[in-house]
Symmetry: C2
């Protein structure tokens, strides 16, 4: 499998990866055995969780990793003083000697638990750093954002991703569509994302469409076929319906709706706020939708793109219902879509005020993750030739947990996750029904005993001896897995505001090991 | 010319573009003559200007626009009820009948002045909307951000873009590197961006590199060649220098610096904050740099990636100077690079406190535009078959100025721009030395007379009869143009905080025309 985007190739990296591996190579250290952890330190959006995404694309990158001759000559031009043999060696470099373990894509994850562990020759494990971070950072961020929008909107709503025009670059948009779907959205407006990933694609028309009609004279066709195949004068019927309903709505808009209904009688959805939502858009929709209904079609609904969405959706719903009493056709089940600058706060306040929106179309705030546009995932060396490595820093939150580690999710008897436990790699896993001491990584006073009702190891080997999974996990399956977990993880951890922190813990042995290393390594400043 | 990214193709669009043009086609309106404006309504980042970017890529897209058979079948699967002839017609669609006028890429631009004007058959002009917005929105946003960072850092500093790992998708990163350079950065860490656009590429090493060295025993090579070609024992010389300087620095770090210097004696730049910046990193750098200097090389400098950048840079600069007195080698000109979570505020506060940083490496906040991660550029129908179109809205700021328009930049006798004036398309341009009334688009009381010392038309035709420019403008040339303007536009408009608004105005004729249309079109609500 190749990456979706041709730009994902070995040159999509920081120059310093190349200067570092040149130094290693020159120093005879290219093959030193190294272990790196890819993890993030802080949950995004002020929440207490993230959704891990991007692994599938990482594996495509690793599988296809190889420099071309043309790429080698470019690298050579950047490092003209380097020994020619290096470039011959670089030309043959691939990821076959790496072993990669990872958490399953789509898993609800927490800070400091490595998402991906990379082991193998120092040079190879190092050179993929930047690309892996790029392929995990934004996907994880936007999938998490999508899951949060899903929770804010409610599981009974339809969520559409509409971000293509505002996304950060063409691929910012393609990635957004892919990972928003993974995070729990239902469809996208992005046609290319639909084709590449099998995501359902949705869309209707824009204000410009409505504006392009200057009246009924722009309708060069008056007829429509009903569901039995009979041709009828659609324009006449709509105008008659408008009289029945006593409407005085904008005729330019009505013409646009008629044209759209003629083109998509089975899929009629109208944008109703071009002129005036309640005095024109909704009445025009009702005329056209009712006539379609009388011809055997099921009109879809309306889209609101401005104004007070709570008020307008409730009024529109009421107008749908009232119209049925006058016309004898029930269109009260038509859907109401809302789509104007929607973010988490808007969803929550709509929820509080009450609304009749069935479908949300969400763009800018979703895809650019405006509440926090970057996830700070990092890729850190934790072991070299079997020795743990640690970068000390004044900022305790930034300290890396050294050495190779395994991770387990411990579950309570209610089937909910209690905490994630990190242990030294190779140590015996925690055992179901057996009490285990779990320690906060930095605070000696924070300790809990957990007797897990179930223990689930978080890592699986996803790349070894040059081979990845036989069959990539489908996007649809990962999305399903995300949605299941949003119901499985304790609600107070997933809560959007003031969530309860989830305890990522160290085993007592790992805690002791790490703190001994810190004692040994940290210099003590001299004052006075 | 093709777009840089294969994902930029006719499917990179919202589905509603296809449903709209199907409706037009079915209605016999595919060839109606339409005019669209692409513009933004509000300057980003609380500023009073933006840098227009993305036009080159737009032209590549327009030039290569054509559906493949495979794309057509996918579209057909999304619109299964549509008439088969539509897809035959769609297969032949291209942009040859469009005419596109645009402001020069890299121009300092202001709200409501169309950046791109598209005229031609309704269907073609409509279907490119989403892709054009995607190709302009983020480039303009990030180029503007880069220009702001340039102004905040000062024109004498070197600015490096380091955002690849945190950017929104692979292409978010490639676009970021390209347009940050356009906006006034000097180089990028992104190797692929270097290859694609000829941007200078820069980089050294990471913390993991320093951590990977466990001591001098990891140095499998002790020697180095000096600039005359003589081989000397580098390790011995460095250790001797360390004694001379009385150092007690971390030996693991020293080993890493020695290895890097051996690999890049002409390009030695050390990351000095892995263990402790002032007690280890800087002293180790000084040892290695001084020995390199004694061997005839010019060491480059250090990089600070944590801590108080003002204090550390000043201390480091002083340590460079002091070392010269002990060693007899002057390394005081070595560069200090800083690179930790730098944003506009950090730059301004460094400026206030004083600092010795020569080079800034800027990532996350630059490329994700964290201060405002989306520009709301829109694409609006302004005319159809010669008739102006206007979308009315309660929100006056969102009103579109109808009809086709020309735009001129009026300059004062000091050579600085006074304002941009929009006139009806085809109207006589303002004349140098002749007083012209310039009106605020919405506020009848805001009027000024301007007697321009120079008048520059803002639009040029960039696409006509299926042809774009013979020679695309180089990125380097556009970057130069941006930098020149940052010195040319009045400083109070460009100021980062509380800038003076720049007056985008309408001619008296256009003002009257627009306001008559509003009077005619807007419904008046009935109260009581």
């Amino acid at each position: 499998m190749k990456p979706i985007n041709d730009l994902v190739n070995p040159l999509l990296t920081d120059l310093y990866q190349l200067t570092m591996i040149y130094t290693y190579w020159k120093n005879g250290r290219a093959g030193d055995s190294a272990a790196f952890d890819l993890f993030f330190r802080k949950n995004p959006f002020g929440g207490e969780f993230a959704i891990f995404a991007g692994l599938g694309e990482v594996l495509c990158f690793v599988e296809s990793f190889a420099f071309t001759d043309e790429q080698i000559s470019y690298v050579r031009s950047l490092m003209p003083q380097s020994e020619p043999e290096f470039f011959q060696w670089l030309r043959k470099l691939d990821c076959s000697q790496l072993r990669i373990d990872a958490i399953r894509e789509g898993t609800v994850v927490f800070p400091r638990v490595p998402l991906i562990r990379v082991e193998g020759p120092l040079c190879v494990a190092q050179i993929i750093e930047t690309t892996l971070l790029n392929l995990v950072n934004y996907p994880t961020l936007v999938a998490t954002n999508a899951a949060r929008f899903r929770m804010a909107a409610g599981f009974d709503k339809v969520l559409l991703e509409f971000g293509l025009r505002r996304a950060q670059g063409p691929d910012g948009a393609i990635s957004a569509s892919r990972y928003c779907y993974m995070g729990g959205f239902d469809a996208t407006s992005n046609v290319l994302a639909g084709r590449l990933f099998g995501i359902p694609v949705r869309g209707t028309h824009a204000h410009s469409f409505v504006l392009s009609y200057r009246g009924l004279s722009d309708l060069r066709e008056r007829m429509i076929k009903d569901t039995t195949g009979h041709t009828v004068d659609f324009v006449e019927k709509v105008l008659h319906m408008r009289t029945t309903l006593g409407g005085n709505s904008n005729e330019e808009e009505l013409a646009a709706f008629i044209a759209y209904a003629q083109a998509f009688p089975e899929n009629f959805l109208a944008l109703v706020d071009t002129y005036d939502t309640l005095s024109s858009g909704v009445p025009n929709f009702i005329c056209v939708a009712t006539v379609l209904k009388s011809l055997g079609y099921e009109p879809v609904g309306i889209r609101l793109d401005s104004g007070d969405l709570s008020y307008l959706s409730k009024r529109a719903r009421r107008m749908f219902a009232d119209s049925g009493e006058k016309t004898g056709y029930d269109i009260s089940g038509c859907l109401i879509t809302a789509s104007n600058e929607i973010d988490e706060d808007v969803l929550m306040s709509l929820h509080k005020e009450g609304h009749e929106v069935d479908v949300f179309g969400i763009g800018t705030h979703l895809v650019t993750c405006s509440a926090q546009p970057a996830l700070g995932a990092v890729y850190k060396l934790v072991e070299i030739d079997g020795e743990p490595r640690i970068k000390l820093t004044q900022d305790i939150e930034k300290v890396t947990i050294p050495g190779r580690k395994d991770a387990y999710r411990l579950y309570g008897s209610d089937g909910r996750a209690i905490l994630d436990l990190l242990v030294q790699h190779g140590d015996a896993p925690p055992v179901t029904g057996k009490r285990v001491l779990c320690r906060h990584p930095f605070n000696a006073l924070k300790r809990v005993y957990v007797t897990p009702a179930a223990v689930v190891p978080l890592y699986a080997t996803v790349w070894e001896s040059g081979r990845g999974p036989d069959e990539p996990v489908t996007l649809q399956k990962t999305r399903q897995y995300v949605l299941e977990q949003l119901n499985d993880i304790r609600a107070d951890h997933l809560r959007l505001n003031n969530p309860t922190p989830y305890k990522v813990s160290l085993s007592d042995t790992l805690y002791g090991y790490v703190h001994d290393l810190w004692e040994k390594e940290a210099t003590i400043a001299e004052l006075g």
